[in-house]
Symmetry: C2
C-alpha cells in the first residue's frame, strides 16, 4: 500500500528521473512482479535496437521481475516476435513472454465461443490484416480469408451480391495492413453489415514511426471501416482493459502488480493507468518531453525515463 501511495504522488508530478532519483524509481517498482514492455519506441525502432535495451531487460529479470513484451503491432505472430527479439536486441524469450495485438484479437474472438455457421466445421474470419494476424487466428482454430483481396484487386460493384459472401464468416478482424484497399474495406463492411459478423480490431494506433517519419497506423484504417459500416469495433490491444485481463490470466500476476512501460500516452500509459498498473513513459519513441509534461489524467505517466536503458543504473543504485 505504501508503494501505491507513492506512485500516485509521483503520478501527479510526473517527475523526469535523473539517475539520482533512485528513491522515486524504487517506490515505483516496489511491489511490482511483472514489467510489461511496449516494443517499438521502447526496445527498438523498426529494426534498430534502442541502446541498452538488452542490459535493462537482463537487469529486470535479475531483479526477479517477469518481463512481458506487449505490442500493438498486429502484423507479426508471437513466434515471429520471439525471433525478432533475439535478432534485433539479443533478447531471449518464448511465445509466453509475448502479448501482441494479433494474439490478443484471436484470444478475444476465441473467448466469444462462436459456433460455426451451419454446414461449416470452423468459424470463418474475414481478415483485414497481414500474415501474423492470419497465423494467430488460425492457431486458435479459426479459418481465415481475405488474404487474396488486396494487391490492387478491384471491388466488383456490378457483380457483388450479398448472397455471394462466404457463409461461414462470423467475424471481421482488422489490424495494420499495407494491402488495405477499397476492395477490402467494402468486403469487410459488407460482412459486418449483411452477415452480422462480429467486428474486432487489434488496435487503434493512429500512426507509427517508420525510418525517421510517421505513417498512418492501423487505427487510421479502423477509422475507415467503422465509418463505412457504422459499427464500433471491440478493440483487443492497448489501451483496452481486456488486454490486461488476458495478460493477467496468462502470467498469473494481477494488474496491480504490473508496471507498463511504453512510448505512447494514449495507448501504453492510458492502458496501464486505466487497469491499475504502474506506468512509465520512455522518450525514445513518439512522445516528446514537452508532451509528457503536458499530459493529464489517465494519460499522465507515473514516471518519465529518457530511455529504457536508464533502468539498468537505477536498479543497480536501488540495490546498493
Amino acid at each position: 500500500m505504501a508503494a501505491a501511495t507513492a506512485a500516485r504522488s509521483v503520478r501527479r508530478s510526473a517527475t523526469r528521473l535523473a539517475s539520482s532519483d533512485v528513491a522515486t524509481f524504487r517506490s515505483w517498482l516496489d511491489g511490482v512482479d511483472a514489467v510489461l514492455l511496449d516494443c517499438d519506441g521502447v526496445i527498438w525502432r523498426g529494426t534498430t535496437p534502442i541502446p541498452g535495451a538488452l542490459a535493462a531487460i537482463d537487469a529486470l529479470r535479475a531483479a526477479g521481475k517477469r518481463v512481458v513484451f506487449v505490442s500493438n503491432n498486429s502484423t507479426k505472430s508471437r513466434a515471429t516476435y520471439v525471433g525478432k527479439l533475439k535478432r534485433v536486441c539479443g533478447i531471449e524469450s518464448t511465445v509466453d513472454d509475448v502479448m501482441s495485438s494479433a494474439f490478443a484479437a484471436a484470444s478475444l474472438l476465441a473467448s466469444k465461443k462462436l459456433a460455426p455457421a451451419e454446414g461449416h466445421d470452423q468459424v470463418g474470419v474475414f481478415v483485414v490484416g497481414e500474415s501474423g494476424l492470419h497465423e494467430e487466428l488460425r492457431a486458435q482454430g479459426f479459418r481465415t480469408i481475405g488474404q487474396d483481396e488486396g494487391g490492387g484487386k478491384p471491388f466488383d460493384f456490378a457483380g457483388f451480391d450479398v448472397a455471394s459472401l462466404d457463409g461461414g464468416v462470423r467475424a471481421v478482424v482488422q489490424g495494420f495492413d499495407t494491402e488495405f484497399s477499397y476492395n477490402k474495406l467494402a468486403l469487410a463492411a459488407s460482412y459486418i453489415r449483411y452477415a452480422r459478423a462480429e467486428y474486432v480490431a487489434t488496435n487503434t494506433d493512429e500512426t507509427f514511426p517508420a525510418h525517421g517519419f510517421v505513417v498512418p497506423g492501423g487505427g487510421s484504417m479502423v477509422a475507415a471501416l467503422r465509418t463505412g459500416c457504422g459499427v464500433e469495433p471491440e478493440v483487443a490491444g492497448k489501451p483496452s482493459p481486456r488486454l490486461m485481463d488476458l495478460i493477467a490470466a496468462h502470467i498469473g500476476v494481477p494488474a496491480s502488480r504490473c508496471a507498463m512501460v511504453g512510448d505512447r500516452l494514449n495507448t501504453d500509459i492510458r492502458f496501464g493507468n486505466s487497469t491499475g498498473a504502474q506506468t512509465a513513459l520512455v522518450l525514445t519513441g513518439v512522445t516528446t518531453a514537452a508532451q509528457a509534461e503536458a499530459s493529464k489524467g489517465p494519460e499522465r505517466p507515473d514516471i518519465v525515463l529518457d530511455s529504457i536503458a536508464d533502468v539498468t543504473a537505477l536498479l543497480a543504485a536501488a540495490s546498493e
Copy 2:
C-alpha cells in the same frame, strides 16, 4: 415573409405530403427561384432513373425555377454529369447546371489563391480520387498527381524519404476512390504532415447505396486520412455551407431563395437547413419514412415526398 413563416411551421411537423397537400407544397416552394436537386437517390439510383424524374424537372423549369444538380459524387466531372443526366433520365443540362463535389473542391482550392512552389509553374495537388476529380482540378489550373499510386502499388517503407515528395505539391484533395490503398493513404498523410499541404475533402458521406446494397463512401476514406495525419480537412461538398456560397455566386440566387431536395438527412437536409434554404426529403434513397419521422433539429426536413415524381402533380394542382 409569409412563405418563410409557413415553411418554418411545416419544418416543425415535417408533414409527409399526400397529393392533396397542395397548400403546404405551395407555401414551401413560394418565393423559391432555384431548386437544388441531389442526384443519386433523387433522380436516379446508380444508373437506373427514378420514374417521373424527367417530368418533374420539366415541370419545375416550366414553373420558372432554375434547376441545379448538386451531387456529392466526386468521381465524375461536370461534363460527364451532363452526359449522364441525358443518358439516364433524358434531362437536358449544361455544365452550369451541375455542382458536383469535385467541382466544389477545385473551386474551394482555387479560392485560396495558393502560389506555386518555388521553381514550379503550377500549384501541384496530390489527389486521392478518381478521374473526374483530376479533371475538375486540372480545369482550374492545377497540376495533379496520384493517379499512378493505386492499383496494388505498395508503399515503399524502406525507400521512402520525406525529401522525395513532389516539391510542387501544395494541397491534398480527397474524394471517393475505388483505388484507395495504404500507399495512397501514407503518401497523402506525408504531404499533409511534412509538406504542409492544404487538405480538402470533396465530402464526408459515410456510405452510399450501390445495386441494392450499401458500400463505404468517400467519408470512410476521409476518416482514414484525417486519423492518419491528425489534420481535419476542409469539406467542399454537402453539408458544407461553403458549397451554398459557391452555388449562390454561380447562379446569382441567394440561399434564402433556394430549395434543396435530397435523400440524406446528414448531408442534403443539413446542408439546406444550415444555409437558410428550404428543404425537402425524398424517400427514394437511403432514408426511410421512419428515419424521416425521427429526424431532429438541423436534419429535419421542411417536407417529405415519396418521390421527386410527386412534384409534377403538386405543381399542376398548385397552378390550378
